[in-house]
């Protein structure tokens, strides 16, 4: 096996007809499947549509009747709830803080997680598998239990109330899943690729950057999507440590003794735009066939 053939420079452009499900789909009758999927998709969408309609109805209408009644008199729909949120000062500042936290901790998790995932998958050291099990076990730590000891720690180290404290907290809590996912993913990379690279004298660092990362892109992309998402929507950690991302800001708009659905609904929609954009952006890394033909 030559070094040239061992690299992934040769990318096999997949023939769509080869796709696994293409055959499955042809094996089953095509149209009933499409209809079924469409029906499932529509049903899946109903609660989200409900939330959206709730966000464009005035609060006084919602206390009277269910949100689907809007179809009977669509003229009451209004975007007043949304504009009220935007006119409230502080929204942009909170959005910026959320962006710092979400992007910061996602990058950290991906980098640290990939390094560790590769170590558990393809490097050897004593006790490797037991440590790996230990890392997975840490998935179970509920973050409420870390609030008190971490608060004391941040007080002592002067990190209280900083964005960095939140980034580190989220990154640490995201690591067990990241390491679990990436290690299990990397393990699926054909061992021959790595072997030939090593035989050719490649250093581990080079293997990591030039082989593992490109091949692991789908997993890294999905990890990034979820880590970004989970930290974008977090409330309790930022609230406890005195930082104000958008979730805390929205929370500060809720009324004490009156229903705030006219704030919650539009705020949820404003808030989901960015994670959705991240989803679209990273979706294109789910390209199949990167590995096809690379070992020939």
């Amino acid at each position: 096996m030559t070094a040239a053939a061992a690299t992934t420079e040769v990318v096999h452009i997949p023939d769509p007809a080869d796709a696994l499900s293409a055959r499955l789909v042809r094996a089953l009758a095509k149209t009933p499947l499409q209809i079924l999927l469409m029906a499932v998709g529509l049903l899946w969408l109903v609660p989200t549509i409900g939330l959206f309609i709730t966000s464009i109805m005035p609060a006084t209408a919602l206390t009277n009747e269910g949100w689907w009644k809007v179809f009977a008199h669509p003229s009451i729909a209004t975007f007043a709830n949304y504009s009220a949120l935007f006119h409230n000062g502080g929204l942009t500042g909170a959005l910026k803080t959320t962006a710092y936290i979400a992007v910061g901790n996602t990058v950290l998790v991906v980098v640290v997680g990939a390094l560790a995932g590769y170590a558990f998958a393809w490097l050897d050291f004593p006790g490797r598998d037991w440590i790996f099990l230990g890392v997975i076990a840490l998935l179970v730590v509920p973050l409420q239990m870390a609030l008190i000891p971490m608060f004391k720690f941040y007080d002592l180290t002067g990190l209280s109330g900083t964005v960095l404290s939140i980034i580190l907290f989220h990154a640490a809590f995201g690591l067990p899943f990241a390491i679990f996912l990436l290690r299990n993913f990397f393990v699926g990379i054909p061992k021959d690729i790595l072997e030939s690279a090593r035989i050719d004298g490649a250093k581990e660092g080079w293997i990591f950057l030039r082989l593992i990362l490109p091949l692991g892109l789908p997993a890294i992309a999905s990890l990034a999507i979820f880590q970004f998402l989970w930290t974008w929507n977090d409330l309790i950690v930022s609230l406890t440590f005195g930082v104000q991302p958008i979730t805390v800001w929205i929370f500060g708009q809720l009324r004490e003794f009156a229903s705030s659905i006219d704030i919650i609904a539009p705020a949820s929609f404003i808030s989901l735009v960015v994670p959705l954009a991240v989803f679209f952006a990273f979706q294109r890394y789910f390209v199949q066939g990167l590995l096809a033909g690379s070992v020939k």
Binding site: L20, S21, V46, T48, W122, F153, A172, L272
Partner: protein
């Protein structure tokens, strides 16, 4: 080579040939691992150790006073916590399997459908909405009142198509002379030809009265007939029950039945605009007049999704709705990176699509599937946000789960010691999960 004998081996994480000398490779491994170990030790390991130690101490203070295993005794004897353990068992049994299976099906089926991205977005959207907003949305959807809750509204549409509700679903008798009878009402006082039956009803809102109703009039007796009136026996202030007064409106469209002394219905008629009805050509004898059950048939009242018995299934549905997107995306990533040559080999050897799927694809996907499955098990052991946001307080005791019990005990009842004990119990629950999977890891080594 026998084509049907081809089964893909789960990927083997065999140790690659050592790069350069013994210690050097350990050093490399250590360096790659170092940042992760630092973050994990400070933010996860230290709080875990703190929590374990804290669970042996009293309710308040950073450490508090030693109480030994008292907190654990409380844990296993308080009924609230026993319910929580039971509920978590249900969650663990149901959710990970459903989520992984649905995610796998969606990931596979949408790979080739032209509008895959649209479908994936739709299924992924629930993950992007905060757990709090999702809880609020589903709580509104699950409302019992069919006028306010979407799911029961659908139930009402179906139910109304099958059986029409009565004209007066909420009516009540105005005097004790009217007694319940087979779902309807019957006037106990016996009637003879020439008698007058007064069937007064209350509990009807003015705008629920049938259209075209007018002032009720007490009919005069006619020989050989039984006269009567069905009317809304209420005027502002109450009025005199059982007496037809000015301001009290008759109820049209009600079916009145005449029962003979054996209870058989011999005549039935419908009331006029002023509530008047008459039974003509009545033979001598004793009769009773009554209103049939169909008048009072209640419309569909809605299921109590948020009630104590259905709350856990209601939560499970909402949770699966959220997390199927997670499974679909992660498994989709796994599918995208699968090496195709093994599949090609199997196909050229003559295996059918289903065989390829079952014996090649799924085993190749096994590591990713296990990530999804195990992550879901652990997520479900920690489930918190959706239970607190969706379940009304009256069902919280029935919907209770361990992470919620822990948080309540620590932060609402201010007993950190017992809260820590519950957390330790959650920690311990993960051990069987890992033990089941040790076999898999062992095999790979």
């Amino acid at each position: 080579m026998s084509n049907l004998g081809i089964t893909a081996e789960p990927p083997v994480a065999a140790a690659p040939p050592p790069p350069e000398g013994g210690e050097r490779k350990y050093l490399t491994g250590g360096l790659f691992l170092l940042p992760a170990l630092v973050l994990l030790s400070v933010w996860l390991l230290y709080p875990t150790v703190y929590t374990i130690i804290r669970s042996f101490f009293g309710p308040s203070g950073y450490l508090g006073s030693w109480v030994g295993i008292d907190n654990y005794k409380t844990l296993f004897t308080t009924s609230a916590l026993v319910t929580a353990i039971k509920n978590n068992a249900i969650w663990v049994a149901v959710v990970p399997a459903f989520v992984t299976a649905i995610g796998l099906i969606f990931a596979v089926l949408t790979e080739r459908v032209r509008w895959a991205v649209a479908f994936k977005t739709v299924v992924f959207l629930p993950m992007a909405i905060s757990a709090f907003a999702t809880g609020v949305t589903w709580r509104i959807m699950y409302q019992q009142d069919p006028g306010m809750g979407a799911i029961n509204a659908l139930g009402r549409v179906v139910s109304d198509a099958v059986s029409t509700p009565g004209v007066l679903p909420s009516a009540l008798p105005s005097t004790s002379a009217l007694q319940p009878h087979g779902g309807g009402l019957i006037l106990k006082t016996p009637l003879h030809p020439g008698g007058v039956a007064l069937l007064g009803l209350t509990g009807i809102a003015p705008d629920a009265m049938p259209k075209g109703s007018v002032q009720a009039v007490r009919p005069s007796a006619k020989p050989g007939q039984i006269e009567g009136v069905v009317w809304r026996d209420f005027k502002p202030g109450g009025g005199k029950p059982g007496v037809v007064e000015q301001g009290e409106i008759g109820i049209p469209g009600v079916t009145v039945e005449l029962h003979d002394s054996t209870g058989k219905v011999v005549q039935s008629t419908t009331t006029a605009a002023d509530g008047d009805f008459d039974f003509k050509n009545v033979a001598a004898g004793s009769y009773q007049a009554g209103i049939g059950a169909q008048t009072f048939a209640k419309p569909f009242g809605g299921y109590s999704w948020l009630g104590p018995s259905l709350i856990t299934p209601a939560l499970l549905i909402a949770y699966i709705w959220i997390w199927a997107g997670f499974a679909m995306v992660v498994i989709g990533a796994g599918l995208a990176a699968m090496p195709r040559d093994v599949l090609e080999a199997a196909r050229t050897d003559g295996a059918s699509e289903w065989q390829v799927f079952r014996r090649v694809t799924v085993p190749l996907l096994a590591p990713v599937l296990s990530v999804v499955f195990i992550t879901m098990i652990i997520n479900v052991l920690k489930v918190f946000d959706i239970v607190i946001a969706l379940a009304p307080d009256s069902s919280q005791a029935n919907a209770n789960v361990l992470a919620l019990a822990m948080w309540r005990t620590a932060f609402t009842a201010f007993d950190f010691g017992t809260g820590a004990a519950i957390a330790v119990f959650i920690f311990l629950l993960v051990i069987p999960v890992l033990a089941l999977n040790i076999r898999r890891f062992r095999r790979e080594v």
